[in-house]
Point group: none
Chain length 222, copies 2
DNA sequence: GATTACACGTGATGC
DNA sequence: TGCATCACGTGTAAT
């Protein structure tokens, strides 16, 4: 229950308006040791401090409004819960961002042609597959994701038994083939297009999947 | 209610440890109007207040540590920047969550065009598409040439009569279809792969061909 | 009564 | 010089 502070009569919890007129009379005669201050200055000081406090209180209220599930409206509780909330938000954000990286943003990966769109992955460009050994053999993988379906395009050299091998590898990666097309192109090229259902436990990046497929395809050539 | 304050010694900004030992002696003799308090109680009160303040200050520090790019360590600034930061985190989270929902559940994820503003209804059919989404409509063309064959890949929105229109356009561009595959992908995406023989008089660039195909496809939506 | 929390006035300090 | 910020002690409610 996030309730705003109830208006008090005697002592407002969060004073919306300052009293402004407080007829306080300083004890002007007791200048004990140090000449303290000019009365006008003292009043200015008081007012400034009031303003500062009110600003802080308003910020507290504003912060409390952003934190869901606040039980106590304590300053300490507001701060503490806000701290935990920020931590939680950060955590969720990093998780989601990581997940998003895996599926969406760079879900088009073309092997053997890294210079397709100039879109360079700065963070996880670690596994640069040794394209040297297979630079002569054509093998490109491209994938797109829509919902729980994946569209997989493989453009490669025609090899005997390649399709079965690829389909087996796909299935062992928790991708279940729903539709496929194999088009011969030229003399020695196959253009394979596959629509597959992504299993619940599928969690590979496109790059990882492409690597697996390529490795599977390379085993035939040995 | 002019409170007499005792002079303090140090003034730590964020006191890490409380002084604990302040030998303050109240003016016990002046019970002006109200018998104020027992001295021991007063000391307890002071200590409790100190503890509370320190707790708050520590929370301020902890909160400030979570907010990146903090310039001022003001209490007001910490609160204000924390508020803005929480808002920003929330915003980014909702955006990412929405995006994730769209990717996992249904709808279309347009690759290579991450900035989709069109919020399309997932359940409804694709017969009512306003002009805004038309211009952003997914339509990607990719072509490869091997000898006198062309491999043509078209990734686009599913439209009634689209395939015939495309094939007609292809043929009118001196490309003669030898093989074709049309795979539905998701609810409203078609992935078309075509192998065509390039006629003798074919002399278009890929870009021109893609443009012709796109224009032909757009005519259906009118 | 004891504990907790708050706003207030105030002196000190740094810019 | 002010001006802003701070921690402090204190009175006062509410729990």
């Amino acid at each position: 229950m996030v309730s705003v502070s109830v208006p008090q009569k005697g002592k407002p919890r969060f004073p919306t308006q300052t009293p402004k007129g407080s007829p306080k009379y300083q004890n002007f005669e007791t200048k004990t040791s140090h000449a303290k201050r000019s009365p006008a200055h003292a009043q200015d000081h008081i007012m400034a401090e009031r303003k500062r406090r009110e600003k802080l209180s308003q910020s507290f209220i504003a912060l409390a409004a952003l934190v869901p599930g606040l039980k106590k409206m304590d300053k300490a509780s507001v701060l503490g819960d806000a701290i935990e909330y920020v931590k939680e938000l950060k955590e969720r954000l990093t998780v989601l961002e990581e997940q998003s990286k895996k599926t969406r943003a760079e879900s088009i990966v073309v092997l053997n042609k890294p210079d397709l769109s100039g879109d360079n992955d700065s963070s996880s460009c670690d596994e640069s597959i040794d394209a040297d050994s297979v630079s002569d053999s054509l093998f490109e993988v491209e994938s797109r994701v829509s919902g729980k379906e994946m569209l997989l395009k493989i453009h490669c050299q025609k090899q005997r038994g390649l399709l079965v091998k690829l389909l087996a590898e796909i299935q062992s990666n928790h991708l279940f083939v729903a539709n496929s097309s194999v088009l011969p192109f030229g003399n020695s090229i196959l253009d394979i297009t596959i629509v597959a259902q992504m299993g619940e436990s599928y969690n590979l990046t496109t790059k990882e999947l492409a690597k697996n497929l390529r490795v599977a395809a390379l085993k035939i050539l040995s």
